[in-house]
Each structure stands twice: as C-alpha cells, then as structure tokens.
Amino acid sequence: MIGTTLALLLFLPAGAAPAAAPEPAATAAAGAPAPAPAPARSLDADLMEIFQKANQDYLAGDYPAAIAGYEKLLNAGRIHPDVTYNLANAYYRAGRKGLAVLFFEKTLAMNPGDEAARYNLELVRKELVDRVMPETGSTSAEPPWESFVRSLPPNGLAWVFLVLYFGFFAVAVARRFVRTRPLHRLLFWINVPVFSLVLVAGALLGGRMLAEDRIHYRVVIVPTAPLREGPERTAKPLMELHEGLKVRALSERGEFVRVRLSNGVEGFILQNQSGEI
C-alpha cells in the first residue's frame, strides 16, 4: 500500500497538488464574499487576456507579437510552464532556436513530466547546427544521478517525502501508546519499510535541491558565440558555439561566464550570449 502511495504521489503531475488549492477567481465565481481579492481578480483577468491575445497572435503567425505577450506575462511574475512552453514555440516559429531551446528547458525544469515540451525540444535539437559536436547527440554533461533527480516532479517528490515522513512519525507515536505486544510489534515492522522509503525520498529530494543549487546550465541564444580561453574579449577563441547548445555554467567572471561542454572542453562565453535555465 505504501509502495502504491509512493508511486501515485511520485508520478502525480507536478501541478496537481497546487492546483487543488482554491483559486481566487474560482472563489469569486462561486459567489463567495471576497471584498479584498477584487483587484487581484482583475489582475488575473488582465494576465489571462494577455495570454489569450498572445495565443491569437501566434495562431495568426504574428510571432513577434506573441513573444511580446508571453514575455509580458513572465515579467509580471506569471512564470508558468504553459507560458514558457508557448513562448518557446513562438521563438521557434520566429527562427530563434536558441531561445526556443532555453524556454523548453525552463518548462521542463518546472515540470519534468511535460511530454509536449520534451518532444518539441527534441525536434528543435535535431535542427540545431553544431560544428563542434554534430554527432554526439548529447548536448549536456549531466551525470546520470542528476538527470534522474531532475526528471522527478519537484512538487510530487516533496509531497511523497512529506507523506512518508509524517506517516513514519505517526506510526512511531502510535506505537508508544499501544500496550498490546502484537500490535506494538506490527507497528514496528510497518515502520521499518516506511523509514527506508523516507530515507530514499529524502535522498532524492536532497539530490534535487543540490542539483538546483549547485549545478546550473545555460543555453547559447545567439547564432554563434565564441568560446574563449579567458574572460576577456581579446582572449583567444577555442571554438564557436552555436545557438541552442546547452552548456554547464561553472562560474561568472565579469561579463563572462565559464562553461563546460559535454565533451569536457571549458572556456568562457559572454553572459549575454546565453540564457540561464
């Protein structure tokens, strides 16, 4: 049962849990007295209008207008995978493949289970020009553990951890008050696997947080970006990176960022030639 719960929670869509919370708009629609949320509802309505307008622009083929609309939403703090996904599509249609890759990656960072974003990202990657490593296929240097923890839905993982964690303590507390020996023993044996799962979920959660905090990636967003030996504009270029290439960001040095390619080559590129995922 615990295993089933774990599986269900782990693969729950990341947005499922927060979506369950009542939205201000929904409360208003239900006619509940809500004096304060009135301006907020107006803001939401405005943002939704921008979103729909951007979608219409996209359908009409006016990609620059669609891009402007989606970016307006992001600038307003509405960082949502639906917005980044649509923006990535718009960038792709507008011929900005680097930015398309960047925003598909952002979408997947928020919601690793977004199959459409993953699919479109793969299609874009097939069209990328990379004169350095055209045959490797891989554009990232993620070790397997990192790929794994990043593929887990962040909120689903957190919920799994919380449920198991509270469950473990609940059983432990109950065991203290149980006087009959068989039940006492049963609760102990129930808690052994629960504790193991808590450790596993905790390790995954910790690994994901570690990956988010310590390991950063960037995507080249300009057609070509020289990878230089040093953090100066006069430093010797090692090679040219092309838009859409995902590189690992190691450190920032002035206007440059030190990056590592999937083949281990390191160098410096201008920060404004790449976008952080």
Binding site: P18, F51, Y58, I79, E127, P154, V173
Partner: protein, 623 residues
C-alpha cells in the same frame, strides 16, 4: 620495493660491466641468446658497444639478418666504472637488442654489424643460426642479461618485447635513461590534408599524427579557426599506437585527431597549424611540457562547374548519394494517415544535404516532415543517411499516385552532376466504411508525429512558482514531527521520574521487584535449589510488604510486620499467612535438606496468592 630493486639493478650493472679493458678502449661485439631456434621461436641478438663516450658513435649499422625477420629493436645504455691500479675508469655501454624470428627452416647467418666510432670502424663476427622445426625448449628461468646490464633477476616483463606494449619502457630503461635535454626530434606532430584539391562541398580530411621516441603524454589540442568550412570531428578512439623507424630511430606514432572539412567556398585556403600540447619525458627525472605545431596546410578548393548544373541543384549536395522512397502501407482507408519516408544515403555532407521537397499533393493533406540524420562516427569518410518522414492523409478515394522525387548532386568522383529520382508510388485509398481486408483502419498513428506540438490555449496560469520545498513553510513543517516526538519522549521521561518519587511510584517499583524475585524463585525451584529459592521468596514477600506499607520492611521483626500490615488495613488472615510464609522461608533457607520440590512449588503458589491480595490496591499485582 621496486625502487630498491632498481638500485640493486644499477649496482649489479655497474659491477658486472666492470671490465679490465684499458681506458679509452672501444669494443663492439654481437651475441645471440641461442644458436638453435625453433621455427616459431623468438630470440634476441644483442650488439654491444663499450666505449668511453657513446656520443662519439658516428654510425651503427645493423647486420644483415638473412632469412630472419626483425620483430623489434630497442636500446639500453649504462655507465660502468672499474678500478685499476688505484685509478678509476668510467665507461659507457650501449646494447642494441634486436628480437628476431625465423621465417624458414635451415641454417642461416647473421652478418657483420658495423660501428663507426671516432673515425674508426669496428665490425662484429658473423653468427651462425640453425633453425629447426621444433627446437628444444629453453631451460626455464630467466634469460641472461645483456652485457653491461644487471645479472640480477628482474621480473619477466623486464624483457618484454615492445610489440607487447608499444609504450613499454623497462625499469632499467627508465632508471638509466640518459639525462639529456629534450630536442625537437624526440617528438613531433604532423598533419596532412587529403585530398588537397577538392571541389566546393567535397570532403577533405585533415589528419593529425603524433610521433615520439620518448615518453610522452598528449594534452590539449587546438585547431585553428575553420571559417569557410563545415567541420565534423571523426572518431579516432580506435586508433592504435604503432612504431616506425625514421632515420634509424624507432618512433611510436598514433593517429591523434581527424576532422572532415567541407569547404563552403572556392579558392586557395591556408590552414593554420594545429597545436598539440605534449608532456615529454626523456628520463624519470625530467619532464617538460611543449606545444608542438604542425606545419601549415594548403587546400585548393575548385568551384563547382557551371556546365551541366541542374536547376534544382543545391551547393550542399556534393558527394555520392542514393535516394529511396517508401510508404508504410499501399492500401489505406480514406482519412487514414500514411507515412512516406524519403531516405537519402551516401557519402558527403549528409547533415547539410538538402532532400527535395515533396511536390504539391492536391489529394493529400500533408503535415510537416520529421527529419532525422544518422552519421557514422568513425572512418575518415563521412557517411550516413538522412530520412524525411511525411505524414500524408488521403482526401480522396481511388488510386492516388505519390509522384517521383528528384534529387540532384555533384559527384566529385565522376566530376559531373547527377540527378536521381525515386519511383512513383501508387496508393489504393478506399472509403472508410469499406476498408480493404487487412487494413488497420483503427491504427494508432500520431498525426503530429514529426511536427511541433501545438501551443496551449487553456491554462490557469497559476499553481506554479517555487517548488514546495522552496516555500518558507516547508522546512518548519518538516521540523514539527521530530520536535513533537522529542517532547513526547521528554515528557514520558519526566513523568516516569515524577512517578518514581511518589508513594504509588515506590509501590509500583516494589511490586516490580517482587515480580522479578518470584520469577527467579520459580527458576530455582525447577533446579531444586532450595536455599536460593527461599531467599528469593522472602525477598519477594518483603517487597510486597513494602508496596503495601509504603516503607521498606527489611529489618522489621515478624510481629512488627504483622502489626504494620494490620494497621495498613490488610486482612488479618493475609497478615498471618505472610508472617507464616516468612518463617517458612527462614526455615527453608537454613534447613534445605528437609525441603523438597513439592514444598517449594506449594510455597511459590502461596506466596503468589498472598502477594496478589496484599498488593491489589497498591499497583499491578505480581503474577
């Protein structure tokens, strides 16, 4: 351990090489480790030069080895000294070890080797070798060391052939390696471009080779800017290190890197040198990092000929290609998708080769194609396939024809343009209701396969932000259960301490002790240990009395106990019974011979009953 062995090796080498030869004398000799060898055997010819200064060797010509085959050759050098008449003589010895293998049976002769030293010539004597089919096996053990070298028994791998490991250097080689500066002939890199005359778009391959005659490690490689080319790295990870003699010197060399270049414009193109960083070591005590550069290369790129250029030709289509077309079904139902796959296969810049567009198809709805490129990573020649998959949905019934697709390219081998085309494909499209037998009318085909997934029109635009574990409340919530648990444990401990100081707590402890004594008494009864049994029973009864009285009963007289119990509200019969049982215990303890097993069981039963009644109101009864 290994270092100690090396030191011993050096010491023995020095002693063994000490020769009575006069100072300044030069000797040159040849020897083999055996004269009768089997057809499949290997043996070693050693040429030994003893001279005061090896640098004065002008020439050392190897002998004619007749029908023998030279498998490998390496050199050893050593410095020796000897004492003669109170003066010491330092000399150098150089051994050239040549591993030979017979090629045919019979007698053969190794000719004279020639040494030119200080303007004089020296020659060795010819050596007769008898090659038999099956030579008697050499005695097990180690081969004799080369002259001047250590007679100390080294590991077998000391004499291992360099063929076994191209980078092999014996410990003695390393230890006695000449302390000399690294010169430019010790290691060098070479690059060449092949072919050096190509037409625009045709592949030219630049290969970088690394040569070294000393220990070397390859570091970073820097290529020049390859503007004007579409460049592809070739996988040379399978390249092996091999050896080669250059000007009589043995070098190890390796294919280091290879790039396929597809020139994007015509003209004379100069390629700057490729830099390879190498860590060179002529001895274990010296190491040097050097950046070696290849010589500049030149590539002549001819323009694509104007004559005969097809109208639909694209400049990226240079190479040798084949084009094929296939559909996944030739009989489909109306509005059911069918996949048309165009496959361009061949050698050339397959990444940039442009597969022609499908002509307009009136009777089909066409989705954007999915393009996939597969290129072989290894091999100097770039070879691969590009597939373009179109999802087509027939909009009419009947026999619909997918027309031929033409593809024009320039063939650099035949030096002419060629146009190839696929065969037309006929599809039989039936009405949905009357799908032909065997047609998968309900098959799962993703119409959007190969096309972009559409944007999202429905969204709440909410519910996302920071993940749960980044919210401010997450970690405080996580801290709650252990905090509660800690409180619970601490509370329990405090409660226990508080209870142990109360009369009820003390009574409970006394009952607990009484229970333990009864359990122990039961064990003694089972073993027939009467004295111990009655001691435990007495202790249990006294604990029971303490639980009832709320004060220790140890040291009280029996009558005093009886009175105290009565005043504490105990049943007089129980008080009497207890006193009687205590007396019985004293009797049993001091007169064990009269005690029997049954008596002990009876006493145990009585004591249990008495304690149960006595402690009924004081806490949990002992059982």
């Amino acid at each position: 351990m290994r270092s100690a062995r090396h030191l011993r090796a050096v010491w023995f080498a020095l002693l063994a090489a000490a020769s009575p030869a006069a100072a300044g004398e030069v000797s040159f000799s040849a020897s083999v480790d055996r004269n009768v060898v089997g057809l499949e055997d290997r043996f070693t010819l050693t040429l030994t030069v003893r001279a005061p200064d090896l640098a004065r060797i002008e020439k050392l010509a190897l002998p004619d080895v007749g029908t023998l085959e030279i498998l490998s050759q390496r050199e050893q050098t050593a410095t020796t000294f000897s004492f003669s008449g109170g003066s010491q003589d330092f000399r150098r010895i150089k051994n050239v070890l040549i591993v030979l293998k017979p090629t045919r049976e019979g007698a053969t002769t190794i000719g004279r080797a020639t040494l030119r030293y200080g303007g004089q010539s020296y020659t060795t004597e010819p050596i007769a070798i008898q090659v038999v089919k099956n030579a008697p096996r050499a005695k097990s053990g180690r081969r004799a060391p080369a002259p001047g070298m250590s007679p100390f028994p080294f590991d077998d791998d000391f004499f291992r052939s360099p063929f076994d490991d191209p980078f092999f250097r014996s410990p003695l080689d390393e230890f006695l390696g000449q302390q000399r500066p690294i010169d430019e002939k010790d290691a060098f890199v070479e690059a060449y471009v092949s072919p050096d005359v190509v037409v625009q778009g045709q592949q030219a391959t630049v290969t970088v080779m690394v040569y070294s005659r000393i220990d070397a490690r390859i570091g970073e490689t820097r290529w020049p800017k390859l503007d004007g080319f579409y460049a592809m790295d070739r996988d040379v990870s399978g390249a092996r290190t091999e050896q080669k003699f250059i000007d009589g010197e043995r070098y190890l060399y390796k294919l280091h890197q290879q790039k396929a270049l597809f020139p994007l414009k015509a003209g004379e193109i100069a390629l700057d040198p490729v830099s390879v960083e190498m860590v060179l070591s002529a001895s274990p005590f010296s190491q040097e990092t050097r950046t070696l550069k290849t010589r500049p290369l030149k590539l002549k790129v001819l323009p694509l000929p104007e004559a005969g250029r097809p109208a639909d030709f694209s400049e990226a289509n240079v190479g040798r290609f084949t084009l094929s077309a296939a559909v996944d079904a030739t009989q489909v139902a109306l509005n059911q998708p069918v996949t048309l796959t165009l496959t361009l296969r061949g050698t050339g810049n397959i990444h940039q080769a442009r597969v022609p567009e499908l002509p307009a198809l009136d009777k089909f709805k066409r989705f954007d194609p999915a393009v996939d490129v597969q290129v072989q990573k290894s091999g100097a020649e770039v070879r691969g396939a590009k597939t373009v998959e179109y999802v087509l949905v027939p909009l009419a019934t009947g026999e619909l024809v997918l027309p031929e697709v033409k593809f024009s390219f320039f063939d650099p081998v035949d030096n002419r343009y060629r146009t190839i085309q696929t065969e037309p494909i006929t599809l039989k499209v039936t009405a949905s209701a009357n799908a032909p037998p065997g047609t998968e009318t309900g098959r799962e085909v993703n119409l959007l396969a190969g096309t972009f997934k559409p944007i999202r029109f429905e969204s709440t635009l909410s519910g996302y932000g920071h993940p749960l574990y980044r919210r401010s409340f997450f970690w405080p919530i996580v801290a709650v259960p252990p905090a509660l648990w800690l409180l619970l444990v601490l509370g329990g401990a405090v409660s226990r301490i508080a209870r142990s100081d109360s009369p009820r707590g003390r009574a409970r402890q006394a009952i607990s002790r009484a229970r333990a004594h009864l359990k122990q008494a039961s064990r003694h009864a089972a073993r027939g240990m009467a004295s111990e049994f009655f001691s435990e029973i007495k202790a249990a009864l006294l604990d029971g009395i303490e639980a009832r009285l709320g004060a220790p009963a140890q040291g009280m007289l029996l009558e005093e106990i009886r009175r105290s119990l009565l005043s504490a509200g105990a049943d007089p019969a129980d008080a009497d019974g207890l006193v009687h049982e205590l007396e019985n215990c004293d009797f049993g303890r001091f007169a064990p011979a009269s005690s029997r097993g049954q008596e002990m069981q009876d006493s145990l039963q009585r004591s249990r009953r008495l304690l149960q009644r006595l402690t009924r109101n004081a806490g949990r009864s002992p059982s």
